[in-house]
Symmetry: C2
Subunit: 160 residues, 2 copies
Amino acid sequence: MAEKRSAVGPAKATDRPGDASPFAVGLLLRRAHDRAASHLAGALRPLGLELRHFAVLIELHHSGTLNQRDLGTAIAMDKAMVVRVVDDLERAGLVERKPIATDRRVRNVEITARGVEVFDAAHVNGAPIFDDLVEHLGPDEYRTLIDLLTRFTYPDEKDR
Amino acid sequence: MAEKRSAVGPAKATDRPGDASPFAVGLLLRRAHDRAASHLAGALRPLGLELRHFAVLIELHHSGTLNQRDLGTAIAMDKAMVVRVVDDLERAGLVERKPIATDRRVRNVEITARGVEVFDAAHVNGAPIFDDLVEHLGPDEYRTLIDLLTRFTYPDEKDR
DNA sequence: TATTGTTATACTCTATAACTATA
DNA sequence: TATAGTTATAGAGTATAACAATA
């Protein structure tokens, strides 16, 4: 692949080398995500979890308790999807819904002790898969990638 | 966001700061892709194109002529999807299917002169949107991001 | 009247599988 | 028998909208 160039027409402003078209970024990100997702999904499958379940566990492990609205906002998940994913997790005993005293509409979601266990187990079991995912990047490079990606994705936020 | 930590349980091997869970990479990539895709789709909409159409144009502009099978391989697109996308592009006059002499099953896809025009116009019209997409990264940082992302995504390839 | 969470519905995307015409 | 391309179908994923309870 990528053997020929400029087979079509004269040089133009956009006649760039390789994948330098700005639009290629979108495609590159899609394929990067596909690769990461298939690796990570493989690490979670033995635990009966999918990435979207783990997104909730990560957020709860990180932020503590959140109601479903804030949880959805935090992980960019539709509120209807939040309901289904929390249903799954609650059925598995990994999170609990807790009513709050001041507003009977709201239900806080908490990670359970068992949820924390599974969270840890996923990281232990997934370590080899994760190593394979990033092995051709050095540790510094990986950190740089995460940093740049984070700033690309959340342009308005200072911390994260 | 990201105000509390360790609200749950004692410190563990996986009790990392922030989004340092390996699994968070998948989620970060998803959101990075979502942000890029919505920006770039906005740049293509006035031209009546979607990202998947542009994926084909980029590949043809870059590699010259490809048959549909190789085209699908190059951009990780299912052969059935290739048919539909090439249908759209051909209807718009941006690519042409050309039979080859040696194998009457195969149809090469070529970008047309009008396809090159639209390719260039997309970059011209999209420039402000693209600037907005990456403005909080320096040029060097953007190049680094693309480089790391490319190596992350295509671990086995030397060039690209 | 607005909001939280739930349920139901519709729509898009993708993956699969059949089908044709060639080889 | 295998392959390139096409078409049709089914499944998953996502987005939308209606709904109930509460504020």
